[in-house]
């Protein structure tokens, strides 16, 4: 049932702006594949090309052997797409939205109820409620139900978790894992780097380029630097101070501490130097911990490298 996707040398520009720059990628059947990247990195443009909503300037995309330009009608039958903005009718009720999306795909809610039951059961108690009165998390679940109701073999979700609370986000990913088990290829884009570790494979995008494509584990494994998490009593000037001290290292705020990544030969020396230099700048209560990198650290390093180059 599920499909594989072959993307070859896709380029797309809007006037001066290069949205996609020679992107090539293969996605296997039944994968839960994540596209991670900041706003404007080209995720949405790529998805719109995959769903045949945009034409690429150059390059080809095939979905299950179908060409997205020539065979767009067939592709539209097998694709479930959830656009970045919730594409629901605010003045219709939950039930009416779902029925409408089922009927434009020539199917009915009853026919595929099994498929959406897990998701829809969360919002079914509110089925008479108008969509504008739903919370972000409920809207998201309804939008997913609408994208799934015609039993697609490819599900494309454009930033489904943007603007949704943390609990709903976790729930949502669990649902995606379940979907994957019933043999649907799923592509998800997200600006939240922490969600990358939930995917089978991820592609990191920036300015229309693919920076890395790999499993989350491999991406962490390839990260060679040491990360120090730094905390002091005076956090406010800390980033600027650390940047001034370590010209070639990458310094960024991460949660409650500041991360400094270093490829110094002697890490012990680096750490003690850091401490003495900070005390000179009147920082007290200095805590420095060596930590193993998270996927976010890897992405930030890759993106920094891309900008420098």
């Amino acid at each position: 049932m599920s499909v594989n996707i072959n993307i070859r040398n896709i380029t797309k520009s809007f006037g001066e702006i290069q949205a996609l720059n020679n992107v090539s990628l293969d996605i296997d059947q039944g994968e839960l594949f994540g596209f991670i990247g900041p706003d404007g990195s080209g995720k949405t443009s790529l998805f719109r090309i995959l769903t045949s909503l945009l034409l690429p300037d150059t390059g080809t995309v095939s979905v299950d052997g179908l060409d997205v330009v020539k065979d767009f009608k067939k592709i539209r039958n097998i694709t479930g797409y959830m656009p970045g903005r919730f594409s629901l009718y605010a003045d219709l009720s939950v039930e009416e939205n779902l029925n409408f999306y089922a009927s434009i795909f020539n199917t009915s809610v009853k026919e595929n109820y099994d498929l959406i039951k897990d998701i829809y059961s969360h919002i079914e108690p509110f089925k008479k409620r108008k969509v504008h009165a739903l919370s972000g998390g409920m809207k998201q679940k309804l939008a997913l139900s609408c994208a799934l109701v015609h039993k697609p073999s490819l599900l494309i979700l454009d930033e489904p978790t943007t603007g949704v609370d943390a609990v709903s986000r976790m729930e949502f990913w669990e649902l995606l894992k379940k979907m994957q088990k019933i043999n649907i290829t799923i592509l998800v884009s997200t600006p939240y780097m922490d969600e990358a570790s939930l995917c089978d494979r991820v592609a990191l995008m920036q300015n229309g380029n693919l920076l890395a494509v790999n499993t989350p584990q491999q991406i962490i494994k390839q990260y060679k630097q040491q990360i120090f998490a730094v905390k002091t009593d005076n956090m406010h000037p800390l980033v600027a101070d650390l940047e001034r001290m370590n010209k070639e290292a990458l310094v960024y705020r991460f949660g409650e501490s500041i991360h400094v990544s270093s490829n110094a030969y002697d890490l012990e020396l680096f750490e003690s130097e850091l401490k003495t230099n900070l005390s000179k700048l009147n920082h007290k209560d200095i805590r420095i911990n060596k930590i193993s990198p998270l996927i976010e650290d890897c992405f930030l390093a890759l993106m920094d490298k891309n900008v420098v180059e």
């Binding site: 909503l53 009718y89 605010a90 003045d91 219709l92 999306y101 609408c146």
Partner: protein, 366 residues
Amino acid sequence: MWAFIKKEFFHIFRDYRSMVILFGMPIVQVLLFGFAITNEINDAQIAILDHSKDVVTRELTQKIVSSNYFLLVENLESNNQIEAEFKKGDIKQVVIFESGFARKLEKEGKASIQLLLDASEPNTANMLNAYTTGIINTYSMQKMINSNAVPLSIQVDSKMLFNPELKSVYMFVPGVITVLLMLVSAMMTSISITREKELGTMEALLVSPLKPIQIIIGKVTPYVLLSFINLVVILLLAKFVFLMPIRGSLVLLLAECLLFIVMALALGILISTISKTQQQAMMMSMFALMLPTILLSGFIFPIENMPLILQYISHLMPPKWFIIIIKNIMLKGVGISYFWKETLIIAFMTVFFIGMSVKKFKIRLE
């Protein structure tokens, strides 16, 4: 497709603003045009300066005042008063009889009346002039017949056909029907389609296997129905509030209106395919459709009096042909054989617009 139409009805009925536009506007417009904007003269205030004060002038004054068009407010005594009266602004016309009016008429066979008109409102002045002249001519005719003095004089006798009382409702109702059908049909559809673009739901519709023609028919059907209801409301108002006759076949009238509605809807879709936002669609419908409909269709200003270039442009305006058709049906009561050409023109325009909009309807986002 049925689901699509049902959804569209939900949109319309749940948005009270569009309901107000759909059903409130026609009624308000018809009543406004019917009552407020009128070309008829009722009780225009006049003054009379009678230098003669004899039997004939009294009779003539009587005729003029009893015509219902005029209201005598002042009997003036001298020429000096005239200017002051006009400056007060209430008096629209002063009728002056020369001295020795009856005697001159008896002896020389002619006498003079002078009409002074306040032409700061040219239309009103023209009409008052025509009315008064008419009354005086009728009087002198009768006089001649009665006295058997038959010096054969040729009188110009103009008679107003089809609208003998020159009722402006007869002119406005066809115009209002046209403007409203155009506005409701074209503007509402173009807005409802661009709204989907704006909200991003169009993206989801495009990804579905729906064909452009299915989306278009789904969008348009509710508005065909609603416009038709509107039309019936206007016709009922015209008939029972303004007592406007429908002399021709009602079925034919409704059929022609339906054709025009479909044409306007097709135009609305065409507008929506080239505009990105609701605002843009609204402006386009307003300026590209409303103004030409009102100005160039012959609704208010006669096409024959326009510069040649505008006359040619008016041929491109569907409302022009439609107004000819409904005037023919409602006022003259003639059948299709008298306006098949106009019908054909509108039918052709309809096909053209539908073809264009299906062709221009984007199956992708660009």
